[in-house]
């Protein structure tokens, strides 16, 4: 049986790995095998290579050319790609209310009924019990 694995995506800034590292450590402590990508392109390559059964993705995500476009919710687009690649579990990190992206979220749920989608407010991650909530939602 495969270990639950998470792909965490943040924007392509050298510092972004620094920002995500503590969260990755906390997820590893909770039994996940974690890989990190810092752009849409890198994430897609890793997802295509297989071995992942869960995706944790920041709704704001750098484009393939490593720039963050204004108004770009590329995380949602990556989620669609991941669902196409049979990733079973997709969790979004966001600073916006889920309903801000409700239409696309509804489309994702309708198009991929076999995929478990969940939203997590980044603001709450500093509370350890919310990391548990996140970890639980990433398990089937």
């Amino acid at each position: 049986m495969r270990q639950p694995a998470i792909l965490e995506l943040l924007w392509a800034d050298d510092d972004s790995r620094g920002a995500v590292a503590p969260l990755v450590r906390r997820l590893r402590e909770r039994g996940f095998r974690v890989s990190v990508a810092t752009s849409y392109a890198e994430a897609l390559t890793l997802l295509s290579e297989g071995a992942f059964n869960a995706l944790l993705v920041d709704i704001i995500l750098p484009r393939a050319d490593d720039t963050v476009g204004l108004g770009s919710y590329q995380g949602l687009e990556l989620a669609r790609d991941a669902a196409e690649l049979n990733i079973e579990n997709i969790a979004f990190l966001t600073v916006v209310q889920p309903s801000e992206v409700a239409a696309e979220y509804r489309r994702l749920e309708a198009d991929y009924p076999g995929v478990k989608f969940s939203f997590h407010d980044k603001m709450l991650l500093l509370d350890p019990k919310n990391i548990d909530v996140l970890a639980n939602s990433l398990r089937r």
Partner: protein, 460 residues
């Protein structure tokens, strides 16, 4: 090709749902500007959003030749297809900012990036009389003649009836000004939305990262063996880390406040679908604990007053149907204000914030209500200021003088959250100093009043 509405176009985009709102809000103004411009200059206008036709002025704004082309189902698609190619930038310019259409008419072309798509405005049409333009129109008429002689004859007549012209410097200046106005309008609305959103994203990442690292550092310090650090140093480091962690969490609420104030144009629609039963007692305790270190820095104690119901059970807050994150933000705004505006420089000032549970709040009122009352001693406000205090951006005179840093959005956001939960917010400020004394302490109380269903009723 028919005109598609902006909301239809945005509903097809993954980002349109969230980022389209500011653009939608400003679009009616752009529409009016373009119509007014077209009427004043007798220039037709076509607007494409990405590949779709979003706007076109009525046929009577166009030269007779274009009117006849667009009136006919045979020739209109030729114009539309050509318009799309020019909007996509696939057609070279004949001079700076001016293209020639397939039928030899000139159009000014301007492009505006909105963040979720490109608006291309084609200002036209002026009948060019260059040889190339003549050849293009003749080709179109000839092509039509192969299918419909009558229509070709009408086009020929319409061509002769169309006045020749070109884009003069004054026309170009006008087009540039209109484009500039539209660009600024979009930048001030949609652009501001994107920028604040991305800034909030960056700031929140930074705060989360610092918060996590301070937590890790605390663990490291706690694990250090004796001798590496003195007990006193360890305690100091632990205290500092705790404060950093607290400040990060509080900072995230500032980011959320700003995001909410700047971006959420449909707040109720966005938040309401996520209502669940929220344990207000736990939430209050969580937010009080979060604020204690900050209060302690100003030597302020936060007391949650225990009150007993009929001398028996301690009163507990009922649960409410709501959004936990927004209710946290509500408490953040009220408690952090109480800390910020408590006196700290006056000797013997009362350095205490009292939080009372008032269950029920006003027995006999048409519906059952409870309240959380937050009291602090410090800066106050006049009766006149009290009427404006819930307005975004308003800060009372004493606050501006004594606490220069503040955005004035805390109470307006708190009001928004209370209204969402069908509640009410009240603020009282009672002077505790002698008349004639210029400045002195006030007792300020903020009541957060929520409707609720008492437990006995819920059981039935």
């Amino acid at each position: 090709m028919s005109v598609t509405t902006l909301s239809e176009l945005l509903s097809k985009s993954p980002n349109g749902d969230a980022f389209g709102r500011p653009l939608l809000s400003v679009w009616p103004h752009i529409d009016s500007i373009l119509r007014a411009f077209s009427t004043a200059t007798s220039l037709p206008i076509f607007v494409f959003f990405n590949d779709a036709l979003l706007f076109r002025t009525p046929p009577e704004t166009m030269p007779p030749f274009c009117q006849r082309m667009l009136d006919s189902p045979e020739t209109a698609p030729l114009c539309m297809k050509d318009g799309q190619r020019r909007a996509a930038g696939d057609v070279p310019e004949v001079k700076e900012g001016v293209q020639m259409c397939h039928a030899g008419m000139l159009n000014g072309r301007r492009e505006i990036e909105t963040g979720i798509g490109t608006l291309v405005i084609l200002f036209g049409s002026k009948k060019s009389i260059t040889d190339e333009a003549g050849r293009r129109r003749a080709r179109v008429v000839q092509r039509v003649a192969e299918q419909a002689q009558d229509h070709a004859a009408e086009l020929d007549a319409a061509d002769r009836a169309s006045d020749p012209g070109d884009f003069e410097p004054a026309d170009m200046a006008l087009i540039n000004s209109i484009t500039d106005i539209i660009e600024r309008l979009i930048s001030a609305t949609a652009g501001f939305h994107f920028q604040t959103f991305n800034m909030a994203h960056e700031l929140s990442l930074m705060l989360i990262s610092v918060g996590f690292h301070s937590e890790d550092l605390n663990e490291l310090v706690a694990g250090l063996k004796g001798g590496a650090l003195t007990a006193e140093t360890k305690a100091q480091m632990s205290e500092s880390n705790k404060l950093i962690f607290t400040q990060c969490r509080l900072g995230l609420y500032i980011v959320r406040n700003f995001l909410s104030h700047a971006n959420e144009t449909k707040y109720r629609e966005v938040v309401k679908p996520h209502f669940v039963e929220v344990n207000m007692e736990d939430l209050l305790q969580e937010m009080v604990e979060l604020h204690r270190p900050l209060a302690a820095e100003k030597k302020i104690k936060i007391e949650v007053v225990e009150e007993k119901e009929k001398e028996k059970e301690p009163v507990a807050l009922p649960a409410v149907l709501g959004n936990a994150m927004e209710l946290r933000r509500l408490f953040y705004n009220v408690i952090s204000n109480a800390i910020k505006y408590s006196y700290h420089s006056i000797p013997n000032a009362r350095r205490v914030i009292r939080i009372r549970r008032k269950v029920p709040y006003d027995p006999g009122f048409k519906k059952e209500r409870f309240a959380v009352a937050v009291e602090n001693y410090g800066l106050g406000l006049t009766e006149e200021e009290r009427r404006s205090v819930f307005r975004a951006g308003f800060r009372v005179r004493q606050a501006v003088e004594e606490v220069p840093i503040g955005s004035g959005i805390g109470l307006s956001e708190a009001t928004k959250i209370m209204q969402l939960h069908k509640g009410e917010i009240r603020l009282h400020s009672k002077s505790l100093h002698e008349p004639g004394v210029e400045q002195g302490p006030y007792l300020t109380t903020v009541d957060l009043i929520f409707p609720y269903v008492p437990r006995r009723s819920r059981r039935t």
